[in-house]
């Protein structure tokens, strides 16, 4: 009855920002980003990609409360770069990987269809 509408999980409210960032004052080169209306799909993906970057000293995410659709991503980098740049770079790497995945999948799928014609129904 008083359950929140399900679309609040992914529709931004008026005036809400997708990403907000708080610079960590006690740690150098460290930022905590809060992503609104996002979940493990994005959080874990970014975290894992950031950890592959040798300039990233720390990357972790948490979902502070399961009823609120947001997560926090904390990133600390070496002083050769900064957390924002690291996140942007990680995202770009992932977009690239996903493009490769899509191309490889499409190619394999078309091949499979050629080898086994007729199996492709509907």
């Amino acid at each position: 009855m008083n359950a929140p509408d399900r679309f609040e999980l992914f529709i931004m409210q008026d005036g809400e920002e997708k990403v907000t960032a708080v610079d960590e004052t006690r740690v150098p080169n460290c930022v905590t980003f809060t992503f609104n209306k996002e979940d493990h799909t994005l959080g874990n993906l970014l975290r894992a990609q950031l950890l592959k970057d040798p300039k990233v000293l720390f990357a972790g995410y948490k979902i502070p409360h399961p009823l609120f659709p947001n997560f926090e991503l904390r990133v600390q980098t070496t002083d050769e770069t900064n957390p924002r740049a690291a996140v942007v770079k990680a995202s770009q790497e992932l977009i690239k990987d996903l493009t490769i995945f899509r191309n490889n999948f499409t190619r394999e799928w078309e091949l499979k269809k050629m080898i086994e014609p007729g199996k492709e129904g509907i």
């Binding site: 799909t41 942007v88 770079k89 999948f105």
Partner: protein, 345 residues
Amino acid sequence: MDGFDMMDSGTDGPIVTIRKADAMHADFVLSNVDLAFANSIRRIILAEVPTLAIDLVEVIANSSVLPDELLSHRLGLIPLESSNIDEKMLYTRDCDCDGYCERCSVVLTLVAKCTGDQNVTVYARDLAVAAGAQLGNPVLSDEAGKGSIICKLRKGQELNLKCIAKKGIAKEHAKWQPCAAVSFEYDPHNKLKHVDYWYETDAKTEWPKSANAPWEEPPAENEPFDFSAVPTKFYIDVETVGSLQPDEVLRQGIKYLQEKLATVIAGVNKTAGAGAGGANGGGDVNGMDQDGYGGARSPDMGDANGYRNFNDGYVTPYGGAGGGGAGAQTPFGGYGGGGYSNGWP
């Protein structure tokens, strides 16, 4: 870009081997990726690929044994043909009509009446799509081509319903799921010990082998545990309900994941203040490597220095040294290939 491009998995990105492909299944092995990547793919095709499903039902007549609510719930769960939905339909919330219109909905009508002594069974096939609709036909994948049973009518009972189908995603309601199931497995021999099998005397003999076990080498007898090993090979079977072809489900999932990442790039750049992030980001990665000029810029880059300062001033706290690096950077152009943040599709 510079050297640390190579940090990525070594070779060039995800590798796909398709094991089975038909109208309902895409069974493939995804390798050379990490667990988070594979899991995000799984999550996004389960929850965030849009399809079409009946969302509103106007009950004009219902004298069947099923109450209106139950009937409308059943109708919602019927898969409707929805390929290329992004090109053909808007979300109702993004449409400027009030209520619904032909740009954001498909109207299906169901009229059935039992007049004889024999009970009448109403199937999904009996849903009539409004003329001119580009999609929304009920999926009839059974052999008889009747679709799922909606309800049964006794003599004299009738149904007259107007159903409005809308575009939506499964995060809102599971009826919009394009997939019945996405099976997902890695490490069938449990070499990584991510699973702790329960056993009476010996787990090896008591548990059946995974169907994916032949795809990987079983561990040698008394093989030492490799504590630094990570899963890299994933066995994924996407099983659709018929509203979308499995390859389309996957491609759409990838597209939405990329869009998510693109909004991250835009959002993170925005946090650096007035669009300066791109310049900072780009400048820092590229520019700094060349000039070797330390990362001290980050703390104040946001609020203090607007983007404009940056481009034509840039001198402020750190002297003009960075000119070279920064000169080349437009807010978004800094990155390798430059394409992405610049209006990624």
